[in-house]
Symmetry: D2
Subunit: 341 residues, 4 copies
């Protein structure tokens, strides 16, 4: 068989592990040929690719990023390109395409699949917000990086007798905040699923100081927002140049808390370190298994499906179902986390 | 309510996280009192304990080991002590005991539970061999430590043009070998579930050298054994003093492979580093959730049960069922791993 | 003898290692008594302290922060307090005081020493800008944390085809930027010692893209400033509330570079993670040696001195000399670093 | 100019950083051409090499091992090959050779230099035993890896109430044991420079238990030996096959201490993990500087010299002097370390 693989969307630790696994399983065990499209869907539309043999994927398992490059998917662009994609698939004699990507990518994958192209998707997001899989690779690495930062910040907050507002990734869901906050023993966790009330938050932190503690760590998702009417809030603060570019919630919260508590409060924005670099062992195993099962799905003709973790097993779920809704933090998970405050 | 907690068996990253979570949930949210027995079941039998309030568990979330101490359980000893335990539970006015431990501990827990004591167990093993839970805390840390070591060993094996036989923990099951081997891209993985044939192994490694590669990494569980009749083998090699104390498989395999391959082969025994030190973020979250749900089970009167992870949820399973059989590496997981050799 | 120890100024990995070493050397080897003042000089002025025996320092070697607490020194306040300090030293029967701190602390130490108090200083700064010692503990940890972040950011910058402007600590000197930039292979390093010209910087980065590279990493010290007249620049940007609080250089540079290069440029501000958490092995050894030699200096009556590393040996240098001038990055070190761009 | 570079001897984190730095400095700043010989001196003798341009060294800064391969130097072999080497240098039009290696390599370098070949050496050893430089790259990484392992082992030793005898690298000198033991707070440190008396050692550890402590960590260099007449000792224990291959000191010490103390004592042999994998930031900076200055030495015609760190500066020292004697742990450094036991 001849299989094309591509990576699309934001960086995510484990992408290379999937690529390597696809090539190993396909080439070594099935005698397939694998090509990799450059820069995501763009590579498919422009027929820009290279051959991927064992040498091409040697030594990439633990490397962050993607050897194939990536680009943000533009669904409209892709919609107009279905026929072009079909043409390239035919010209290249491809039996299957394995796109590895997040919500946008999987929606695009479904579009092409519905148009009859032979697609098996592999889900990818550090945010862990894809509903049809227990977890996605990249998430454990992001949580690990955030937790290590929080571990470090605790001693420095304590020495400086400060409140630190630590902003982690998560535009629509609070999974990274929830897990890293729980793992590091944060004193408050603020997620997009539950708009916050700054008075309540100040109250929680204030009680901690009243109890004699000398510092507090608040973990907040970048997408967190105040409950309506409780605080002036600019989603995406404006920088000194008038550009709306900096995520604003930690900055704004630190000002508000400082005023209410009379304690120094400082924002720390972890940023891109959460999505780069070598994946954790957990993510490497998950990514490798996803790659393996994607190749199996191709050989079993299970097109229009996506790999998913359920418990300890890898299942296939329809692409249609995969992107139906976002997996948000349920209230009971949030309640568990509150107990460790 | 008044709850007693104890840790029993070998060291495992995450024990302190469970203790902390039990105390937080019980004290803060339910207004309970918690005591901790020293050195496992011994503390219960000898009524050796201390009070655990919030201060007592401050700062322990990320610390390895157990602040309560531990000891290996001796079930026979415990059997004779059921009445003594019952007496202490009554004297101390305990409404529940939460033992945190491995197979032996959980068997003991069942014994006491069958005798009518109010027990909720929390499973613990770095080996991940408890069948009724998807995974146990401590396992991810062990795999992470082993993977980091393997990452380092790869470059040195390559520079020295050697075969390295890396022995990881796992007396009865190969989970640590499987996951760390897969995560690090080992070239062969040897587990207790599949007795090895040294000729076959030499063949796999030899083919790698024939293909022009300059080194190989073999990961082997400490409990791995050769297929009967294929190799002289001493389970637990004898040291120079005549003590049978060193795990022998990596040592013996390195000699056999060196003779067959004509390449330098060296054993590396990772040993106790796999079970000590700060837990990974994954293990801290799982341990914290286990502690939280154990307290809930106590308050719901669900005695004779054990916390377990199923998918992304924490369930309760009967202690009786929990220790029925060992969770071994199924053949399909091993097959997945082969593809990355 | 009776020795008082205190920590003053910002958090710095290794403070606890010094405290522990002082106590071990003094108590175990000399039979001294040690007390620790709380919250820096404040503790001395307010006679707020506790006894430090072996138990008090058990387990703190690898812990970030300081068990004694710290506060920023206010020299004026201290100047008025010399007599008060002298009184407390007499009342407590102290034979020596060992203050551990940065430039401000050492200046205060000199003040008290000149007034006749028995002082041996231990220098501390993650910035590495104290001239009379080859290096200070805390610096290696800060560089290590920054380097690990840069390692991660490289893959994500590559995947996203971006310029990342990474701001590291260093208000007056560029040591952390120089070492972390060199260690991680940054493509440009901007330090306070050499005001930058944004056109030149855009040129360097632009050439990299012209050569076919897909990303660039610029490391910039928080205290870096543009060459006069080359760029509008606000030292300390204003936030949305009108507070002048965010370090601005990475934010402003990213805007300027994006406009000039036509490539996405994003700021990443590493912040407080650089000064918290467990110290590296290097810093633990240096801190332990500083503590040991401070006690020796006390026993040898070498007051008014400070411990310093010269090559591989610990020397004593006069406090007067220690704080005479800042150790800045010399031009030849900068030249070395340029070669790795 | 045309420069040849080679790496020789055991693996050492930082080799690739030197190679990269040599290429960057030579190619970018001087317009030189660089070739790399394969597998150490063997590559020079057999004229086996490849061109090293900027692409060839892209991405290797943080990678362990050596992209050029290595082999153990056989001085006798090399002695017979001087004329062959001279011939290849002439044929290839080389203006200089930069060998990167340990004691054996530098002796060989001196041999060739004395024979008139244009050599600038770069010292390399994780053992830190080269006298003419304050420190060698690779050492900090080895100490860091050993310290991280010791950190982990402390909690597990405590939980199991055991003595752990941890064997680290160092055949002739105890630098790694000294620094990692000091960094991790080991309770005894045993180095080759001071033959140990097992009774004394048992006494030190025994007193710790008498003082109520529940565990002890002893760090021992692989080359440590007992004081004559104090203990039966087999340097290099024999394995079950009659092969003399396992370093024996930790194994033998654990048996002896267990018998004397009546406490479980277990050996842990860290082995090759200490010399592989990504170098620390410290080692990357030092290696990069060594490479830079080696190229400068070439351009300044300073042949027969070797790069060396003195304080914070890189100096050149004669190869003749460089290998005169081993840098051993001086007694005063050992005394410093004792205070932290």
């Amino acid at each position: 068989m001849r299989i094309g693989v591509l990576t699309s969307g934001g960086d995510c630790p484990g992408l290379n592990a999937v690529i390597r696994s696809v090539v190993h399983r396909a080439v070594v065990d099935h005698g397939d040929e694998v090509i990799g499209f450059h820069d995501g869907w763009k590579g498919l539309l422009e027929c820009d690719y290279r051959k991927l043999d064992l040498d091409a994927v040697s030594g990439i398992l633990a490397r962050g990023g993607t050897i194939l490059g990536s680009s943000r998917v533009q669904p409209a662009h892709l919609r107009g390109g279905v026929e072009r994609a079909r043409g390239h698939v035919a010209d290249l004699g491809l039996d299957a395409i394995i796109p590895i990507g997040g919500e946008g990518t999987l929606k695009a994958a479904r579009l092409l699949s519905d148009a009859g192209l032979p697609i098996v998707g592999v889900p990818k997001t550090i945010d862990n917000d894809i509903a049809s899989t227990d977890v996605t690779f990249g998430f454990d690495t992001a949580v690990t990086v955030a937790t290590e930062a929080l571990d470090r910040l605790k001693t420095t907050a304590e020495s400086h007798q400060r409140v630190l507002i630590v902003e982690v990734m998560g535009r629509h869901t609070g999974w990274i905040a929830l897990h890293s906050g729980m793992a590091a023993g944060a004193h408050a966790i603020v997620v997009p699923e539950r708009p916050f009330d700054v008075e309540e938050l100040a109250d929680v932190v204030g009680k901690r100081f009243e109890a004699g503690k000398k510092f507090a760590i608040v973990v907040v998702s970048e997408g967190a927002k105040p409950r309506e009417g409780t605080m002036d809030f600019t989603a995406g603060a404006t920088d000194v140049y008038g550009h709306e570019r900096f995520t604003g919630v930690a900055n704004q919260l630190s000002v508000e808390l400082e005023e209410r508590l009379g304690k120094e409060a400082r924002p720390v924005i972890l940023g891109h370190v959460q999505r780069g670099g070598t994946p954790t062992a957990y993510d490497r195993v998950l990514a490798t298994r996803f790659g393996w099962h994607a190749v199996e799905a191709v050989h079993n003709g299970r097109f229009g499906m996506m790999t998913a973790l359920r418990g300890t097993d890898i299942h296939l779920v329809p692409l249609a179902q995969a992107v139906e809704h976002l997996k948000t933090v349920p209230v009971e998970r949030y309640t568990e986390a509150e107990c460790v405050l």
